[in-house]
């Protein structure tokens, strides 16, 4: 393929550039109706409008010049940028544990193309060592890039490959597994891996960043370092998410893969354990469990991998006024399982009962979870709940709706022809997806502005 000399430029700028015989990376003198400008012609972002040229000035600033202000363009030089992350060999120390890092496409470590602003992911051990050299003080690192997809494009296809590869790595003898992942759907992946990989002898630690590592205030390095601690010598052999505790650069939390959820679109401390407390904190290289009921690290390699997923599963987020045809349509389209996120203790309106009954009769499995996120489904308190149970809807205690969705997909995948087995799996906690009890501090959404939280923020939460 020939090199794109006009990267990102469309008409009218494209013909303007051709007319004046200049291409990207040309150093230009531009005469315009707003005066003269001197700079390097940069590629144009594909998503930006087609009317402006972008110049990088000697001061480092970029500036846009609208095509119809241009009177003349003169090429005075050419400086093409070429970027590569230099690889430095990741030092190996036989005394240190060895960790396998799988990449899924999220950019945990990256560097920036300073001229275009494009983020170049750093992933090989050498690149990672180049950007977070502290990792070499913790463990030996082997990396494998499995996919190059954004978090939102992770799905069943990737889940299966990831689970299989993790199983193999465990059997190969790695002391821990790390998975670099975009944060948006990290909790879906952590949940599905919790079901697909059971009885893991070593930690499986998911990690990402809310601020890309090309920013000096990035959370990426701290997350990576703490995840490496958790994976290489941490005592907890479960699928966990390792992300910031508070928004301050202080410590990380390890969240159980089935109880964690991204709760803020942009905060660093976005991951929270719901309806329970996290497994551990990590600070200064120490993994400090804050509960005792975790699966401990073992030296055997007896891991059970059940990689299967039925894609015809969905979540229905109930709202007042929902019409029954929503449920009918799903049944008609061949959906095999529906997770309802119901109101309150697990309710939907009476109008859709007949549709639920029809779905049940057609063999569609229907489960009840809560859109309140916290608390237990309790369908016996009110009559409506009891009626819904009679329609074949199965309550899922305090399972988070997203977790119920991936669990149902997995269960139907494992037992495609055994509805009873699916129902049994769904109703049995497998990886902490449902708990017997909720501690008093399992629900914590502090209300800002009131005196006691003000006190808490000034004195404690720093």
């Amino acid at each position: 393929m020939s090199k794109d000399l006009y990267k990102g430029y469309r008409d009218p700028c494209l013909s303007l550039l051709k007319r004046h015989d200049v291409t990207v990376w040309c150093e230009l003198e531009a005469q315009t109706s707003r005066g003269e400008f001197h700079g390097l012609l940069l590629p144009r972002s594909e998503t930006a409008d087609p009317y402006h040229l972008v110049l990088k000035l000697d001061s480092g600033y970029n500036i846009g010049i609208r095509h119809d202000t241009v009177q003349n363009l003169k090429k005075v030089g050419y400086r093409e940028a070429n970027y590569k992350i230099p690889e430095q060999e990741f030092p190996r120390d036989p005394e240190k544990p060895t960790v396998r890092l799988f990449g899924t496409g999220g950019t945990i470590a990256s560097r920036l193309d300073y001229r275009t602003g494009a983020v170049i992911p750093a992933f090989s051990p050498g690149e990672l060592y180049g950007s977070v050299p502290e990792l070499a003080d913790i463990c030996n690192l082997d990396t494998e890039k499995l996919f190059g997809v954004f978090s939102e494009n992770m799905g069943p296809e990737q889940y299966l490959i990831l689970a299989e590869r993790i199983g193999e790595a465990i059997r190969e003898g790695y002391d821990g597994i790390m998975i670099g992942h975009g944060t948006d759907t990290m909790h879906h992946t952590s949940a599905v891996l919790s079901f697909m990989i059971q009885n893991t002898p070593v930690p499986i630690v998911m990690v990402g960043s809310q601020r890309s590592s090309d920013r000096p205030s990035s959370d990426a390095a701290q997350n990576l370092i703490n995840a490496a601690h958790a994976a290489s010598h941490g005592p907890i052999a479960e699928v966990v998410v390792c992300m910031f505790g508070p928004t301050s650069d202080r410590y990380n939390l390890l969240h159980r893969g089935t109880r964690v959820r991204k709760m803020h679109s942009s905060y660093r401390s976005t991951f929270r354990t719901l309806g329970d407390i996290p497994l551990a904190t990590i600070e200064d290289g120490f993994v400090n469990p804050i509960r005792e009921d975790f699966a401990p690290r073992r030296s055997d390699r007896d891991v059970l991998v059940q990689a299967a997923f039925e894609e015809k599963v969905t979540i229905v987020y109930y709202y007042p006024g929902m019409q029954p045809d929503v449920i009918d349509a799903l049944a008609e389209k061949g959906y095999k399982g529906i997770v309802i996120a119901g109101t309150g203790l697990g309710h939907v309106n009476r109008k859709i009962y007949p549709a639920l009954e029809r779905a049940n009769a057609a063999g569609v499995q229907v489960y009840m979870t809560l859109q309140t996120m916290w608390g237990f489904v309790q369908m016996y308190v009110y009559e409506t709940g009891r009626e819904i149970l009679e329609l074949g809807v199965v309550p899922l205690a305090n399972m988070i709706p997203d977790v119920a969705y991936v669990k149902l997909g997995w269960a139907l995948g494992v037992h495609p022809d055994d509805p009873e087995a699916v129902r049994r799996l769904m109703s049995t906690p497998i990886a902490g997806d449902m708990t017997d009890r909720e501690p008093h501090d399992g629900y914590l959404v502090l209300q800002g502005g009131v005196p006691e939280s003000a006190k808490f923020f000034t004195n404690v939460w720093k």
Binding site: E29, T32, R34, G35, E36, F37, H38, S45, T47, A48, D49, Y51, H52, V54, L57, D58, S59, G60, Y61, N62, I63, G64, I65, R66, T69, Y83, K84, I85, P86, R111, L112, Y114, T116, G117, V119, G130, S131, R211, S213, D214, R215, P216, S217, S218, A221, T247, S248, D249, R250, H264, S265, S266, Y267, R268, G449, A454, F457, T458, W461, K462
Partner: protein, 676 residues
């Protein structure tokens, strides 16, 4: 062709090594020319918008309340070449905890980097464009928001969002009192968000308040065309005046701050950061010019002595244990009686000694008034190694305190130092002392280059101290969170249609009204220029006298805490001056009376200054009375007598009678006999 930013180096490479140190005020323009003085300004001006630049928090609210704290670190990112700057990484390792104090009313999750930016504030962009237009710049057609890296913690993201509005302009620069009449070249105007206010910087912890963070600023950069410290001041004033002409910028403490770039022949650009008042500029820049000259003298002396720079293994990141120039000195100082070192050893801290080959005597070389070259080392150590409990360092050029001769000898021999070497002893917590030793060697090797690239913090006495290394060129990159913003022709047309009067236009108008250029420039820059315009004197004589009176009297009254007058009570005075019902000589006295008696009506106050119909009789009566008293003074000379007599009479007639008439009348009554 647009000018390319010059390199950091002063265009003249021949330092005026023989030029003696002098005080500010003792040097002429030619003297500054001889040392190759060059100054440039970067003026940061807060804009008077309702909201901040990238979020909807209120701008310009200053608070002391603290609702919460956030703690962060700044990690160096890979440079354009894909490598960490060894220096930045080393600074990170001796890292600082950065604490941000949050107040609910003035800061949201954007400023602390937990929410992406909201669309840029268009009100601020438009004010910025107007300011750019006033500086005669070529304006951008599309604004690109960039990130400018700052690792000092003053911005929680680690970068400042900033965008270029316009380039390459000039404005008339006329200051008759300094003999300046030429254009001032403006390199660029950008719009950016303000940083945090520093609260404290102690050891490894620096604390910032966030109320100011994110306030829209324009940054105006001049070309380095300023040839004396006083030109720097005058340019700063002019730039501020242009921005104020829009009526849309904040005024008062902290609303405008300037960074000054100074170099002399043979040196490179040094940045003095955040000077709040124009009046501080001359002394600061003068002292900085001579600091640079002195560093160049030290370099010359090292060359003359034939000294090679100390070798630094692994660049900046080496460990002192590998250097033969550094020893752990605690062992030699067990019996040290010098309290700071003794206490450090008692606290189990580390004491290191560093040999600087060939530096003997140089550490006490003067660099700034009352400051020697040793301060360059201690400032570096303080900032980079975070040692704050002074003293933390002594050196062998000053031996009358600290160690006794035996101890100095022991350390010299352990370091294999001879009489031509200098030795610095520094102490502190082990890892900080290590950093300090490394930093001392780095600064010593920089002495061979002359003037190291750095930004400096100005102090109130006119001296300055090391703040940080000057950031590299890679600190600017596009902000991927904000789309480019087209700058519509319609906005510029709107700005053009309501352009304020520019300072030089205003000065020209004053000249036409009868003022000299010097008076016009002074009036234009004054606080009472608007009052003058509101009074709109109708003829040249009155205009000139009024400008003079305002300049003399307004500052006097404001010193006494009186409020600046409005035009209303003063208009009758100006009208009276114009129709000559009050004489010009009474202007100041009448103005004073109006300001001092706001409770009285203008008519009442001015009555006593009015020329009256009976004035001739009054002149006659007063002159007669004076002539009577003068009979005892006949032994005095004619001139003395006349001066005395005028002094007796005129206060009663000020503004009412023509002094010439009084004089003639007095001549008649006093010397009539003689004449006869």
């Amino acid at each position: 062709m647009s000018p390319r930013p010059p390199s950091d180096l002063n265009p003249r490479r021949d330092p005026a090594l023989d030029f003696p140190d002098r005080d500010l005020g003792e040097l002429s323009l030619e003297d500054y020319e001889q040392i190759g003085f060059l100054g440039g300004l970067e003026v940061h001006q807060q804009l008077d918008t309702r909201g901040k630049l990238f979020c909807r928090c209120p701008a310009g609210r200053r608070v002391t309340n603290v609702d919460a704290e956030v703690l962060r670190h700044m990690r160096p990112t890979l440079s354009e070449l894909g490598e960490y700057d060894a220096c930045a990484l080393m600074e990170f390792k001796t890292r600082k905890e950065i604490v941000y104090l949050l107040d609910r009313g003035t800061v949201c999750t954007y400023e602390i980097d937990d929410t992406p930016p909201f669309p840029i504030d268009l009100e601020a962009v438009k004010i910025g464009l107007e300011i750019g237009r006033l500086y005669g710049l070529n304006l951008a057609t599309e604004l690109h928001v960039m990130r400018k890296q700052y690792l000092d913690g003053s911005i929680p993201t680690g970068f400042q969002r900033t965008g270029m509005l316009g380039l390459t302009g000039e404005i008339p620069f006329r200051v008759p009192s300094l003999g300046i009449d030429r254009p001032l070249r403006i390199r660029q105007v950008s719009i950016e968000e303000d940083s945090c206010r520093e609260v404290s910087d102690l050891g490894h912890r620096i604390t910032f308040r966030t109320d100011r963070l994110g306030t829209p600023l324009t940054e105006v950069v001049t070309e380095p065309d300023l040839r004396t410290p006083f030109e720097v001041q005058a340019a700063g004033r002019l730039i501020a005046q242009v921005a104020r002409a829009t009526g849309k910028v904040k005024r008062g403490a902290g609303a405008a701050r300037q960074d000054v770039n100074i170099s002399v022949a043979g040196s490179r650009r040094i940045e003095l950061k955040g000077v709040g008042h124009h009046r501080r500029l001359p002394l600061l820049t003068h002292i900085e010019a001579f600091r640079q000259l002195n560093l160049l003298r030290i370099r010359e002396e090292l060359r003359n002595r034939g000294i090679e720079p100390p070798s630094l293994p692994d660049g900046r990141a080496f460990s002192w244990t590998t250097s033969p120039l550094v020893i752990e000195a605690s062992g030699h100082l067990r019996r040290c009686e010098y309290a700071p070192i003794k206490d450090a050893i008692d606290r189990q801290e580390r004491v290191v000694a560093v040999r600087l080959p060939g530096f003997s005597g140089l550490l006490s070389h003067r660099t700034q008034p009352g400051i020697t070259f040793a301060r360059e080392f201690s400032e570096r150590v303080r900032v980079i190694a975070c040692l704050t409990d002074r003293p933390f360092m002594i050196h062998s050029d000053v031996r009358d305190y600290g160690l006794d001769p035996t101890q100095w000898r022991a350390i010299h021999s352990a370091l294999e130092a001879d009489n031509e070497d200098a030795v610095i002893v520094v102490w502190g917590p082990a890892s900080d002392a290590d950093t300090a030793a490394r930093e001392i060697l780095i600064r010593a090797s920089e002495a061979h280059e002359g003037v190291p690239s750095e930004t400096r913090q100005p102090y109130l006495d006119g001296t300055s101290g090391f703040e940080r290394m000057l950031p590299g060129p890679d600190r600017m990159y596009p902000d991927t969170d904000t789309p480019p913003l087209p700058i519509e022709d319609g906005w510029l047309a709107e700005i053009e249609s309501r352009l304020p009067e520019l300072p030089w236009d205003r000065e020209n108008r004053y000249v036409e009204m009868g003022l000299s250029l010097g008076e016009a420039v002074e009036l234009g820059a004054s606080r009472w220029a608007e009052l003058f315009d509101d009074l709109s004197p109708a003829n040249k004589k009155v205009a000139r006298r009024l400008a003079h009176a305002l300049r003399k009297r307004i500052p006097h009254h404001s010193r006494l805490g009186r409020e600046a007058p409005t035009a209303e009570p003063i208009v009758p005075l100006v009208r009276a001056l114009e129709d000559e019902s009050i004489r010009l000589e009474a202007t100041e006295a009448a103005l004073d009376a109006l300001i001092e008696h706001p409770e009285k009506s203008a008519v009442e106050v001015l009555a006593s200054f009015k020329v009256t119909k009976t004035v001739h009789e009054e002149v006659e009566r007063l002159c007669g009375r004076v002539a009577e008293s003068a009979k005892d003074l006949t032994d005095r000379s004619r001139d003395v007598l006349m001066r005395w007599a005028m002094g007796e009479v005129m206060p009663h007639l000020l503004g009412k009678a023509d002094p010439m008439e009084v004089r003639q009348r007095l001549e008649t009554v006093l010397f009539a006999e003689e004449a006869a």
